[in-house]
């Protein structure tokens, strides 16, 4: 080997593997060998298994629960009911939304498959044997399934426990089935704008109940160590620290005696944000039996009980001039939250960030009103791969803009160009209260239009229409609001929604960093290392990222709502910069120069105007051996980052579909997605996130729906029916980008994971509806199943 030559600046930069590098993922090494460690892989000595007896009814009184026969079943050790949890105060639990939820049904069941009893046995087979033998006697009550009847005078009262309360955690209410009313914007001015407008459009648009359905269901292993009173819970937690605090609050165990560990998580998409009865029951059972207790959901349990999303019933309106310039927006929303208000939002936001309804458009005035109601359905209302209720808002505005385009006969891309917030308007204060930090919407849309030859597609469409064929072009130019969030706006059970990163640089110049977030597949072990690598000039391969163990990680609010990069990523950059500041002091000391003489260059401090420098690696060693007087040894720090604002990723998508007019089959011919997530940390990971988000958007738009019959039976709660598309149905994707850095984020990043879901769903709907636009169709409800598309074809006589 020849003597190592000095590396060039470019080579040094490349060797860091920092921001902007399509670095291969570090976590893959274990996953491709089948060595991931998911919660169901955890096996502790003496571990027992728990399984639930679930309600057959949607709404019923429980007359009796008989457990004797179950306790006779070989292997069954205990059957826990609400009566057993009551003395511990654990039969109900507080929800993140200020309501409470039954852990085990207390005298009454409120939805089908609600948890009634928890059977603990030596293995999962015996647990199910026991479940079969528990007898529950019910007295059926009339169920309330349709949210539009929830506030009727004669509606069945769902929640006897809070029927007479003036509020259930989110402000005044006016009916026993009412949860909250939330208004934002200027109603009077909006109404005036509508009254005066040349053109108004109004459309009823529902976003059906769907479910995130990650491939791994929810589950946990709870283990109480009787010798020291420490409770350890391994589980599918997107926000482990929040779980620790909540467990402490409801059990009165000292928070230091609770350890929450999120091992590898097999996808979350919002499903694993909430606290579920299974977690509480496993913990209680472990405390009572002295054994570790495992609880793993079946797929049916998952789809029917934990964390649905959406179920927003919206009426949207736009006022405009005859050229399609929007003058006002108005929306009334009915939100079905199911039997308990367990939706997961920052607490001050009962409808999440739905007031991002203005989207990418400069709308002078607007008003939104959202009412939440109880029904006899599973509780929840999580953000399924989106920031809180952002996808519902984006869907509504993107659909309304299309409707307005049809009404005014302005092209659907052109009407967007006419209404965009212009680059010079940023920071832009929206009429519904947000300050958009940055964006360049016209550039993005024009780039996509050129890439797909939009004009050519419209020409082709005209020819197809003349020939009686159905081709649709869907445009979606969405803006998200992610990165919850500024502590002044956002808290969960009183905890500000900051996030954190702790960095330790070892003497030989490698690093361990821990964050308050938790990857569920997003690739944090790879990308957070890249941020720190660039900031510290230490190769990302020498940086270990750890998350998910509350005994070691700094406090953070977890991963959901595209908040990891905007918040924890910022904390990582901040912490690294603190380290670099200290490193500079050490370098100045060792090099015997003043700090002002030092400048940073990729991986070292250099004395300005000379060849003298000290690498970060060398500084690391000095930090443990040769620090200036008055400076502590070591090179480690933590940063807690409270973002000054949300971030506002945006994108422009065009989707082209062809529809079989005899069967209602929709073929996605082309999907072109341009995303702007600000600074791009890892282009490979970003593309992967977009592919996955678009595939989920496709699933939602085309088939996902949690359906109940009129008696409250949940239909299709298995993967036989619930639409998780295979590789055969899933289209291929083309991706593109622009870069508009976030002005307030330390590295200019905005978050990407959820954009394709938020922007993708309206792109599909808009494409399908556009195929029928020349027949006067303005809206078709999701999901666009073959049967529903055919119904439109049939009504229009196009299938003859």
């Amino acid at each position: 080997m020849s003597e190592a030559r000095e590396l060039t600046l470019e080579e040094r930069e490349a060797s860091i593997g920092g921001i902007g590098t399509a670095r291969k993922r570090k976590e893959d090494a274990r996953f491709i060998r089948g060595q991931g460690n998911y919660v169901d892989d955890i096996k502790l000595p003496g571990m027992l298994h728990g399984d639930f007896v679930r309600s057959a009814h949607a709404h019923a009184l429980i007359k009796s629960i008989s457990t004797e026969a179950a306790l006779e079943v070989p292997g069954v050790l205990a059957v826990v009911t609400a009566k057993d949890l009551e003395p511990l105060g654990l039969h109900w639990m507080p929800t993140l939304a200020g309501d409470k939820a039954a852990v085990l049904a207390d005298k009454k069941v409120h939805f089908q498959n609600q948890e009634i009893a928890f059977v603990v046995a030596t293995d999962r087979y015996a647990a199910m044997d026991g479940v079969q033998k528990v007898e529950v006697e019910y007295e059926a009550l009339p169920p309330l399934i349709d949210p539009t009847t929830a506030l009727d005078d004669d509606a069945p009262i769902i929640r006897d426990d809070v029927a007479s309360n003036d509020e259930v955690g989110q402000g005044p209410r006016h009916h026993p089935n009412h949860i909250f009313e939330w208004n934002v914007g200027d109603k009077e001015a909006t109404d005036a704008a509508f009254a005066a407008a040349e053109i108004t459009i109004r459309e009823k648009i529902a976003y059906p109940r769907c479910h995130p359905s990650p491939l791994e269901t929810c589950g946990c292993v709870a283990s109480m160590d009787a010798t020291n009173g420490k409770l350890t819970v391994y589980g599918t937690f997107q926000a482990p620290h929040v779980v620790r605090t909540v467990v402490s609050l409801i059990t009165s165990l000292a928070e230091s005696n609770i350890r929450i560990v999120s091992p590898d998580i097999g996808g979350g998409f919002g499903n694993k944000v909430g606290a579920y009865p299974g977690y509480i029951c496993a913990a209680a059972a472990s405390i009572v039996t002295g054994h570790p207790v495992k609880w793993i959901e079946s797929r049916i349990d998952n789809l029917s009980t934990t964390a649905f999303a959406r179920d927003y019933h919206m009426v949207g309106e736009l006022a405009a001039d005859k050229d399609g310039k929007i003058l006002a927006v108005r929306a009334e929303v009915l939100a079905d939250h199911g039997a308990f208000n367990t939706h997961a939002q920052p607490m001050k936001w009962p409808a999440g960030l739905f007031n991002i309804l203005t989207g990418s458009y400069d709308i002078p005035v607007g008003h939104v009103s959202v009412n939440g109601v109880y029904t006899n359905k599973a509780p929840g209302g999580v953000a399924y791969r989106c920031s809180f209720r952002v996808t519902e808002a984006a869907y509504l505005i993107e659909r309304l803009v299309d409707v307005l385009a049809q009404q005014t006969e302005v092209d659907k891309a052109e009407i967007r160009l006419r209404n965009f917030v212009q680059p010079a308007q940023f920071p832009y204060k929206s009429c519904l209260g947000w300050e958009y930090d940055s964006g360049d919407y016209p550039t993005a849309l024009k780039k996509v239009m050129a890439a797909v030859d939009y004009a050519g597609l419209r020409k082709e469409q005209a020819a197809k229409r003349a020939a009686g064929e159905l081709m649709g072009i869907g445009v979606s130019t969405f803006t998200e609001i992610v990165g919850a969030g500024p502590v002044r706006n956002c808290d969960i059970v009183g905890l500000g929604m900051f996030d954190s990163c702790e960095i330790r640089v070892h003497p030989t110049g490698s690093v361990i960093a821990r964050l308050g977030t938790k990857s569920q597949g997003q690739g944090h072990e790879t990308t957070f290392a890249q941020i720190i690598a660039t900031e510290l000039g230490i190769p990302s391969d020498n940086i270990v990222i750890e998350e998910g163990d509350t005994d070691t990680a700094p406090y953070g609010l977890g991963t959901y709502g595209s908040r990891s990069t905007p918040v924890a990523g910022a904390a990582a950059a901040r912490a690294a910069r603190k380290i670099r500041e200290k490193a500079k002091q050490i370098a100045a000391h060792v090099l015997e120069v003043s700090e002002q003489d030092l400048e940073w260059e990729v991986d070292r401090f250099k004395v300005a105007g000379s060849d003298v420098s000290m690498t970060m690696k060398a500084i690391a060693m000095a930090a443990y051996s040769n620090v200036p007087e008055g400076l502590e040894h070591g090179l480690e720090t933590a940063a807690y980052y409270d973002p000054p604002n949300f971030t506002y990723p945006f994108g422009a998508y065009i989707c082209v579909v062809d529809i079989d007019r005899f069967t209602g089959d929709v073929k996605v011919r082309r999907f072109y997605a341009l995303d702007d997530c600000g600074t791009r940390i890892n282009p490979m990971v970003i593309d992967g996130q977009i592919h996955g988000g678009l595939a989920e958007a496709f699933a939602i738009a085309m088939g996902q729906e949690i359906i109940y019959d009129e008696t409250g039976n949940i239909l299709g709660a298995s993967l036989m029916d619930y639409f998780l598309p295979s590789a055969v149905e899933t289209p291929t994707w083309e991706t593109d980008f622009t870069v508009t850095p976030c002005p307030h984020h330390p590295i200019g990043a905005k978050g990407i994971g959820e954009s394709p879901n938020v922007g993708g769903v309206p792109a599909f709907s808009n494409a399908i509806i556009d195929a029928f636009a020349h027949h006067g169709v303005r809206h078709m409800s999701m999901p666009h199943t073959q049967s529903k598309v055919w119904q439109t074809l049939n009504e229009l006589g196009l299938n003859k």
């Binding site: 291969k24 993922r25 976590e27 893959d28 090494a29 274990r30 996953f31 491709i32 060998r33 089948g34 060595q35 991931g36 460690n37 998911y38 169901d40 892989d41 096996k43 070989p74 999962r124 087979y125 359905s213 990650p214 491939l215 791994e216 269901t217 590898d264 998580i265 097999g266 996808g267 998409f269 793993i296 079946s298 797929r299 569920q520 597949g521 997003q522 690739g523 490979m684 990971v685 593309d687 992967g688 996130q689 977009i690 592919h691 996955g692 988000g693 678009l694 595939a695 989920e696 298995s718 993967l719 036989m720 998780l724 598309p725 295979s726 590789a727 055969v728 899933t730 291929t732 994707w733």
Partner: protein, 162 residues
């Protein structure tokens, strides 16, 4: 409860075990053999996370009893690599970003392994059909198709060079 002895080969190793008749193959592998690579996703044979290779065929181990594997030859994801040397498919998934949460990956890899035996030079469409019994919620499949293609090319090149 009726339990019985089975003997089979798992990843090249001869194994004898006592199982209850009702023990599903997936539980036998994961809980009795500590082979936790194959996962449980849907339990109704739709998702393919539990895919293993039994007697030269891809099967869903959540819908087969362990007793049915008696005398059989079984391969799980843990048996794909040759010591420290990754199988070209494992390499392809790594190189092409063919995984995110990793939960479907073992089943996907095991299925793709057999697919390439059945069809060493598949088109993209043939790959999509070939892995259509394996659901992925993260990747949108595009990079998985690329990963399988990568492996096919690598295997074919190596064989061409022989």
């Amino acid at each position: 409860m009726s339990s019985q002895k089975i003997s089979l080969t798992i990843n090249g190793e001869a194994v004898e075990a006592e199982v209850e008749a009702r023990t599903l193959l997936i539980h036998f592998l994961r809980e009795q053999r500590n082979l936790t690579g194959p996962h449980i996703g849907c339990e109704t044979s739709h998702c393919g996370a539990c895919t293993v290779d039994l007697n030269g065929k891809s099967v869903k181990s959540c819908t087969i009893f362990a007793v049915q594997a008696d005398g059989g030859e079984l391969l799980t994801v843990e048996g794909l690599a040759n010591g420290a040397e990754l199988h070209p498919l494992q390499e392809g998934f790594y190189e092409s970003h063919g995984l995110q949460c990793g939960y479907c990956t073992p089943g996907m890899l095991t299925r793709a392994y057999r697919l390439l035996q059945e069809n060493p030079d598949p088109s993209d469409d043939e790959i999509r059909i070939g892995i259509s019994g394996n659901l992925c919620r993260c990747t949108g499949y595009q990079n998985i198709v690329k990963a399988v293609r990568y492996a096919a090319d690598k295997i074919n090149q190596a064989e061409g060079a022989d």
